[in-house]
């Protein structure tokens, strides 16, 4: 069944034919992160696809994956484009390398999962939290509910993890 949700003033829609995204966000709604796992080549992939990017197999199984990793790169938005984000600037868009499957199947590949920097309860982070995060920061995934069957995966600082002393931040600060 299709899903329509209002999230931060944005209309999110998942068509009933879009089974991959229905499954992906459905698992997020249960607050457990799942990715498609290919039985043929034993690799996970992100974001959802209709076949395996490494072996073309159309068959996959949704399996739980630990939502922990380190920031690979980021955007720090000061001039929001979407109206709902204007109240939250500056906000961070993070690309986080999951610990799972990092460096596989080749050296420079990783499950590089996008998300905003949020508070532990899933709200866009305040400026003092934004200033703490850079390349190398250790993150853990949290979820923000948007509708039945749809929650948004996000990243918050993993306070239990050992953090780099000085995560890399844009130099002109």
């Amino acid at each position: 069944m299709s899903i329509s949700a209002d999230y931060l003033g944005m209309n999110l829609q998942i068509d009933d034919l879009d089974k991959e995204n229905l499954a992906y966000f459905g698992h997020c709604a249960d607050h457990t992160f799942h990715l498609q796992h290919c039985g043929s080549c034993d690799l996970y992939r992100y974001p959802p696809t209709t076949a395996c990017p490494w072996c073309t197999s159309p068959d996959s199984t949704w399996k739980p994956v630990e939502g922990r990793g380190a920031v690979h790169s980021y955007s720090e938005v000061h001039h929001a484009i979407q109206p709902a984000f204007k109240a939250f600037t500056p906000y961070l868009i993070l690309l986080v390398d999951l610990d799972t499957q990092n460096g596989k199947p080749t050296e420079h590949e990783a499950l590089r999962v996008a998300g905003n920097l949020v508070t532990p309860d899933g709200n866009l982070a305040p400026p003092e939290m934004v200033a703490r995060v850079g390349i190398g920061s250790r993150m853990r995934m949290v979820f923000k509910d948007a509708a039945d069957g749809l929650a948004i995966p996000h990243w918050t600082i993993d306070e239990d993890a050992e953090q780099p002393a000085n995560p890399w931040r844009y130099p002109q600060e």
Binding site: D18, Y46, P47, I81, Q82, T106, A114
Partner: protein, 417 residues
Amino acid sequence: MSSTDIDATSSKGLRDKYAICGVGETTYVRGSDRTTRGLATWAIRNAMEDAGLKPGDIDGMLSYSSGDSTFSPFVAGDLGIRLNFYMDVFGGGSSTEALVGIAIGVIEAGMCNTVVIFRAMNGYSQVRVGGTGARAVAPISANQLHDRTYGWQSPGQLFAPTFMRHMYDYGTRPEQVAAVKAAHSEHASNNPKAYYKQRVTVDDVLSSRMICKPLHLLDCCVETDNATAIIVTRAERARDCRHTPALIQSVVGRCCKPRIDMHYQTGPISTVAGHYAKDILWTNAGLGPEDIDITGSYDAFTFTTMLQLEDYGFCKKGEGGDYVSDGTIRLGGKRPNNTSGGHLCEGYTHGLNMVVENVRQLRHDADDSCPIGPDGKRQHTYDYSEGGCRQVRDVEVSANLGWATPGTGSAMVMRRG
């Protein structure tokens, strides 16, 4: 990340066989007060006039847009052009060079003889290139759920992780990249057509407000209303036209990094599509970066110019910051880039205006200010001070490096006919 698996398969016999014989544009403004259809017909009329061709001489048409423009049948109808071939494709940056390749292909296939390629857009007054306005509030579905949901939508927002990671991987500094804007603004100050003609400094760029780190306002291109057009035909036909032809040596069209559904899955993310495209471009051209006199490296942002020059091999990987800040890319430097001022200053047309400029450079007719001699041609002073000359001395070979995203690029080498 080996690039040796790329097999450049185009026939080397196509070198010098096709040419750009006409170029044209509208003004570059904010508030064109006309439709994209009206803009397209204006630019194409100018390109036909430039080539010395009549509507009956054109029988092919190609355009590109992203739901923000008119289509070939209307433009051809307005101009009395009967088409043997047309195609309007989806896409923005990196389309120009790709469509030149398609034009060569359809002419080679005998489907038509002469193809006009246009891009018409009210990029300021109708559909904003930067993504503000109607695009910012459209419903989000399918693949967009994994980017727009996060306020990750505008080109600057989407590309910033590549730019940031380049600074992290190679120590690239903001002031180095800002030098691209300073250089292009110098060029634009010698281009009466440019929307922004005022020269700016590196400090001006760094002190402009932050849009999306690492992009200050002046690291970002201008949004304008305009159309641009070029005409592609066989070289022997081009020789009958009014100007020296720009002979096409090789093209690469929308060459991609792996996992282009979300290219960040494969690294190094500080490497862009030019890393792959270069092997096709230089192999088919039989030339290398050292042979190139001028470049047209797409400047949607200062960073895109730098990243492409680096990955196409104009400098060593990681040294792009030095290359764009050491004077090389300025008028008077070893290899000027975007002598019209490019997207940062002249106007935004998704790459086509940079090809227009290089065609004029190859004709030795890029100038708008130097005195006109008894032969009716500009007597270039090569004085590049403000308001002066912008023709580069003795240009023989150019390279255009088109950008769609970090993951997709196109390119073209041309030489003076």
